[in-house]
Symmetry: C2
Subunit: 255 residues, 2 copies
Amino acid sequence: MTLDVVFTPAGLAASEVQGRVVFVVDILRATTTICAALHHGARAVIPVASTEEAMRLSQTLGADDILLAGERGAVRIPGFALGNSPREMVPEVVRGRSLILTTTNGTGALLAVSGGARVYLAAGVNFALVAERIRAAWLAGDQILVVCAGREQRFGLDDAYTAGRLVHAALGGGRGRKGINDAALAALELVRRYGTRWERPLTSSQAGRDLIRSGFRDDVADAARPDAYPVLPLFSDRRITAAPASESSDTSSTP
Amino acid sequence: MTLDVVFTPAGLAASEVQGRVVFVVDILRATTTICAALHHGARAVIPVASTEEAMRLSQTLGADDILLAGERGAVRIPGFALGNSPREMVPEVVRGRSLILTTTNGTGALLAVSGGARVYLAAGVNFALVAERIRAAWLAGDQILVVCAGREQRFGLDDAYTAGRLVHAALGGGRGRKGINDAALAALELVRRYGTRWERPLTSSQAGRDLIRSGFRDDVADAARPDAYPVLPLFSDRRITAAPASESSDTSSTP
């Protein structure tokens, strides 16, 4: 078994993803927002790379139950129904609908790992479920890859801390470090530093500080609420859906 | 003043480098080896991207006092006089000569930052000098960039720890964290973890373990010897030379 963390998806080759159980992290805010949407009844979230692709796909699908969502520079894309805030993903708006989502970092990370054997989305708001899932994958001897969206192709403290929490969960508190890469080791140090409370690493990170400065303090607070949106998003066949409850508690993770 | 760390040079734009005081780290082994060469009397080290370019440049210069050096997969390039081991850089071989060097990660990192206002090379073997230099730059209010060579475009624990030591030196033990990026914060955590002894982070890193497995245990041990090669390599006009002693102790770092 191996467990590798990458701090950005930059340069990730298809061959590095293939056959692996992948966990994608963009806690501020894409994976948090997607958890909120699915937990509140959205049928699916379809990640796309660009504004243009989002609009084109929306026209192709043409259905009434499609919502465009996304941001650039943290701000909702003009003409889109929704931004990238978990606060917008309320049941009255998203229930029964599919979202087409494009964000600065998160959707790119998702598209980079679409070839994984299984691709889960991780955040603080669904941490207990992903922790259980990564632990099961580790015990099953799977090849695991944790992909941080990061920040414009660079290291982001918020995602790296979350990755550390995942590594910690996978190892189950065991002290062995065999099979984990340098980035996973460094991510673990952030857990040692910040403990199990999400606020500090999120508000200390550049992404968190930028969001707070842009008026999204509530979104950062939302992202720091453990298990607020207990759902296990699974990215498969170009769309993200909530894994069925049986999958969530399934201890055999063989893809 | 700002102090940014990047864990790999991948995607580094010229605009991010321009006007900045840059410290390049490839402790296993390029920056260590270059310190050894310059300390033992090499006139200059010229980093190039490829084996072909090394050979072409060697032919163009055509001088007797040129040595080809470099590795791929840690092993000396066939036909080259030297590999990339600090142990090879003995006075009898390198004194008065110029080396053309190409390595898997380090020389690429150097070429990526050649547009910096000043570009220094950092390792454990010259740490006191670079620590003094980065502290002076920080106090002078310079824009500082620490570039880790990393490992095939990925995070490497060995370089990240060294970057953390540099950040720690820059801040001078101060507790302020203003102006430093997320990667610098994470690198500092590695110093908190490993303390000031170089052995542990080097031998724990994938690069270190790979070198040991390939029979280069002595090189890892060499890299962990603080101030074994007290020289301040400065990369300017395509070549790396030892900064004069006055520069080493100059406290004004304005480029």
